[in-house]
């Protein structure tokens, strides 16, 4: 009998060591497809699991951190409030890599305020919105990202316009914004890995069909609709800092974005000639896509120069969480000095 040893990544861990508990979501749920790509991305990046913290709010999507990275601490918080928890975790220990998973209800409705402020602060983390346009756990009510005119399973037509979380994030100055589709694993994993190299908030809005409540004819978040309508802005490649490879390409056909850790994003252009470093173009493109009912995917915007939250906080290299008393408790002479000033 031949036993084959499973392959390992650059830090000697197998893919299995990046997995979590078995999913309890519906068979075929888009979220499980995203979970698989998260596992793949972290495995391929060779991230140390114990240096990752997984966070979420409430909803089907927010359950998923239990299904990946078993060896990372997880924090399934309260509805719509994952951003504040992530901000606190980041402040306490900026050496951790944070990945947050949220849904369209969790982010675009109850948590919209916290989402905006997380982006505004540029808290370093990957923020994934598993976007299916409905509330799954409460059985199919529309969410705030459901498109105008989209039909619910019950036949009800959505009469309110959607909130575009990518457009909003860019408007708020988010330094990494991507949109993808749970049925496009190749693009999604590249985006996830690029987000993992980004120093700042990386928002990835992933259309993730709800097979139970929003996968029917007339829904704009259904597998069939998304597959037919997906229009990638570019072909996305990610080259990590630890395996630099050069490729030949026609001048002008490729855009390369260097990331702060030395990794590179390579974007093979389509006829659109889209430049994701241009904020105005990004906003304009999203607006036009809405008007034309296009489903654009890819890296919508990136700015590697923006200061992230931990830089602004001006903390030292060691995490605040484990600073010793010698550093956190000022000397007796300090108290004496303060007391003298109050006499």
């Amino acid at each position: 009998m031949v036993t084959s040893t499973p392959p390992t990544n650059r830090i000697g861990l197998t893919m299995a060591e990046y997995k979590g508990a078995p999913s309890t979501l519906c068979d075929g749920c888009g979220h499980d497809a995203i979970t698989a790509q998260i596992i793949k991305a972290f495995y391929e990046l060779g991230k140390e699991p114990h240096m990752v913290a997984k966070l979420s709010g409430i909803g089907c999507s927010s359950k998923t951190p239990a299904y990946f990275l078993n060896r990372s601490h997880g924090f399934n918080s309260v509805h719509g409030r994952m951003p504040s928890v992530a901000t606190g975790v980041s402040a306490a220990n900026h050496t951790l890599s944070l990945i947050g998973v949220s849904g369209d209800g969790d982010t675009a409705s109850i948590g919209l305020g916290q989402f905006c402020h997380l982006v505004r602060r540029n808290v370093p983390m990957i923020y994934i919105v598993e976007n299916n346009g409905v509330y799954g756990l409460t059985k199919g009510q529309f969410s705030a990202t459901a498109d105008l005119g989209s039909k619910a399973k019950s036949g009800v037509i959505n009469e309110l316009p959607p909130i575009d979380l990518c457009g909003l994030a860019i408007e708020l100055g988010c330094s990494f914004v991507g949109r993808s589709f749970a049925g496009d694993p190749k693009q999604l994993v590249a985006l996830l890995k690029a987000a993992g190299s980004h120093k700042g908030t990386a928002v990835i809005d992933v259309i993730s069909p709800c097979v139970t409540f929003n996968n029917h004819e007339g829904s704009t978040k259904a597998y069939k609709y998304a597959k037919e309508m997906e229009t990638p802005l570019h072909e996305l490649g990610y080259i990590p800092f630890f395996e630099q490879i050069s490729v030949d390409y026609e001048p002008g056909s490729m855009q390369e974005v260097e990331m702060h850790d030395g990794s590179k994003i390579r974007l093979k252009k389509t006829e659109r000639n889209y430049d994701p470093t241009n904020q105005t173009q990004a906003i304009l493109t999203i607006k036009e896509a809405h008007d034309k009912k296009e489903f654009l995917t890819g890296l919508l915007y990136i700015n590697e120069d923006k200061e992230d939250f931990s830089t602004i906080m001006n903390v030292g290299d060691a995490p605040l969480a484990t600073l010793p008393q010698e550093i956190t408790r000022p000397a007796k002479s300090v108290l004496e000095e303060i007391m003298a000033g109050l006499k």
């Binding site: 601490h73 409030r81 901000t87 606190g88 916290q114 030292g316 995490p319 605040l320 550093i327």
Partner: protein
């Protein structure tokens, strides 16, 4: 009632009242009177005489009436006193009402043009041409308005015989290093003083005379004391959202952190302060930070406490340390944001939905604000739970005399945190197992390099391994352990301060800022032959001393500053068999409780 007023009896006998009176300054919010009032208070303090200062201000930045009361008391009573002996009526808007509220024989210092003498003939008036004098103090019109305040300091100083050297010291302290401001203000005081000397005939009985009762003491507000307690507790993550009356807690903490917690060489901070978008986010951040291992805190007032409810229950159920300061103000709703109250007791104690109960600390003095702030961080990590520290506007924002604070003697206690080596040694780590039998489990911090270190924190039902569960027995196990942990806390929270008076049949129970009044009340009752014992509650859950105290008295009065007798009700729930012995005295008009009120209320029921 006369027999009870210790001060007024002396007044009648000797005709000269020394170091025992209240001065009230009525001005307009934003007129700059704050500095003058501080100088006046500090000058008396520096003469060795016990003082307390209370700022009664509106929810407004400029233009509305504000009152500052300085109580001078040789016995060291520092609670509010409702009777005012000396009024400085600088605000034309309120002058008529202000002078009408005085008792017969009180003193009124006022601008001459207000003609207040026509309103109250039975009050002793000193009328001062402030506008004219201000013209002498400065040519600048804007400055004249500000200096007007220093003119009354000069007039009062002359009338009461306040040492000029101490006024000079206080002004130097107030305007630290700003020579021009010091000279201008000092000059205004002199003008006021000289005018009074030449033009007023002293006809009132009030004087200050040097004592030695403030030697070594400091003057500070409760919010600053809480900030210092947090600083020396080694706080690392501070999250907050501005709200009166708690803002100055974090603002003063930020000043201290910037001064003392930035490494001189690297320029790097050993703290993070985040001004949140609201209180929901503030506590979310504090919990995230506490979970990741920081010593975290947030501070707020009633409306913020309401917003924090969901997360507070999350913190309790998932066992995450953090410290929440609640500087209470009058509610419900916006209520009276600049008035004091103790009405968040029950809401803080049970904050959230479901079976939730929190450890609550109740500092009753400035020193306790400092000490309990520090202790809260240790308790939060020891018990892995949010700790609520309840002060109030009176304690938090007013200036109080205090003994200087002592440097912590105990090392920082980070509680049951397992490192990778600990897990290796134990061979196992289960987040929610009661290993030691005290209800307190072990935790790990993210970043712990051990394959078994990670766990999943969830607000949903969880078993000892932090796994998801809806099994009845798992839920019961968890809830009962949380209760056991709470019972353990009884032995570790600050015990009450008990003062037993021999022969006393009745007891007083109070907490928080009511203590200042109770000290005085007990003396007043003693004069009326009603000796009392006193138990001051300093924390929830209650400790064993409470039952013993209630049992050993005929009945007890629970004195508090809320309408619904929240502490009395909690005590009745705690001691149902003794419920009939427990009576109530409540003061809830937004002003700090005063001793005479409590004394009268008890006398009424003792008749």
């Amino acid at each position: 009632m006369n027999t009870l007023a210790v001060g007024s009896k002396e007044k009648l006998e000797k005709g000269r009242v020394v170091n025992d009176f209240s001065i009230q300054v009525a001005t307009v919010n934003g007129s700059g009177s704050q500095s003058s009032n501080s100088v006046l208070m500090r000058s008396i303090f520096q003469m060795g005489i016990p003082v307390s200062g209370k700022n009664l201000f509106p929810s407004n930045i400029a233009g509305l009436p504000t009152w500052f009361t300085i109580r001078v008391n040789k016995n060291g009573y520092v609670a509010r006193k409702s009777d005012i002996e000396i009024l400085i009526a600088m605000n034309p808007q309120t002058a008529i009402d202000d002078v009408k509220s005085l008792s017969t024989g009180a003193v009124c210092i006022s601008p001459v043009e207000l003609k207040l003498d026509a309103i109250r003939k039975d009050v002793l008036h000193y009328q001062v041409p402030f506008t004219e004098l201000a013209a002498k103090a400065s040519e600048n019109l804007k400055l004249r308005k500000l200096l007007m305040n220093m003119l009354y300091v000069g007039v009062v100083a002359e009338l009461l015989n306040i040492d000029h050297g101490q006024i000079e010291n206080s002004i130097s302290k107030q305007f630290e290093g700003k020579t021009k401001a010091i000279d201008l203000n000092l000059n205004a005081v002199k003008i006021g003083r000289e005018w009074a000397r030449e033009n007023l005939k002293k006809e009132d009985p009030y004087f200050v005379e040097p004592m030695d009762k403030t030697q070594g003491k400091i003057i500070i507000d409760g919010n600053a004391a809480c900030a210092l307690g947090s600083l020396f507790a080694g706080v690392t993550v501070v999250t907050w959202y501005p709200i009166t009356p708690s803002s100055s807690l974090c603002e003063q903490l930020i000043d201290y952190l910037k001064e003392y917690r930035i490494d001189k060489e690297s320029g790097k901070a050993s703290f993070a302060v985040i001004q949140a978008e609201d209180e929901l986010a503030a506590i979310g951040m504090a919990l995230g930070a506490g979970w990741a291992g920081a010593r975290s805190m947030t501070s707020t007032s009633g409306p913020g406490i309401s917003l924090m409810a969901e997360f507070a229950g999350y913190g309790y159920f998932t066992e995450i340390p953090t410290v929440v300061f609640d500087v209470q103000r009058v509610g419900p709703s916006t209520g009276m944001p600049t008035r004091t109250s103790q009405a968040d007791l029950i809401s803080a104690y049970t904050l959230s939905h479901g079976d939730t109960k929190h450890i609550v600390l109740l500092p009753g003095s400035i020193i306790e604000c400092y000490e309990m702030a520090g202790e809260a961080f240790d308790l939060a990590e020891k018990f892995q739970t949010p700790i609520f520290v309840l002060t109030d506007l009176d304690l938090g924002m007013n200036n109080w005399m205090s003994d200087p604070f002592e440097y912590p003697t105990k090392p920082i206690n980070r509680g049951k945190v397992m490192t990778a080596a600990d897990i290796e040694k134990a061979g196992v780590f289960e987040r929610y197992r009661d290993v030691d039998g005290d209800g307190i489990p072990y935790r790990t911090l993210p970043g712990t390099d051990h394959p078994q270190a990670a766990y999943f924190t969830r607000g949903s039902g969880h078993n000892e391994k932090a796994g998801y569960t809806e099994k009845p027995e798992d839920y019961l196990n968890l809830m009962n352990r949380l209760d056991k942990k709470f019972q353990t806390a009884r032995k570790f929270v600050p015990a009450p301060v008990v003062s037993v008076e021999k022969g006393a049949k009745i007891g007083i129970i109070a907490y928080g800022s009511s203590d200042f009044a109770i000290v005085e009340t007990r003396d007043q009752l003693k004069v009326a032959n009603i000796p009392t014992s006193y138990l001051r509650v300093r924390a929830l859950p209650f400790t064993d001393e409470l039952r013993k105290f209630v049992e050993s008295h005929d009945h007890v009065y629970v004195v508090e500053q809320n309408r619904d007798a929240q502490m009395r009700d909690l005590i009745r729930l705690e001691l149902p068999d003794l419920a009939m012995k427990i009576r109530s005295v409540r003061h809830y008009d937004g002003l700090p409780i005063d001793a005479q009120f409590v004394t009268d209320a008890i006398m009424e029921q003792e008749r």
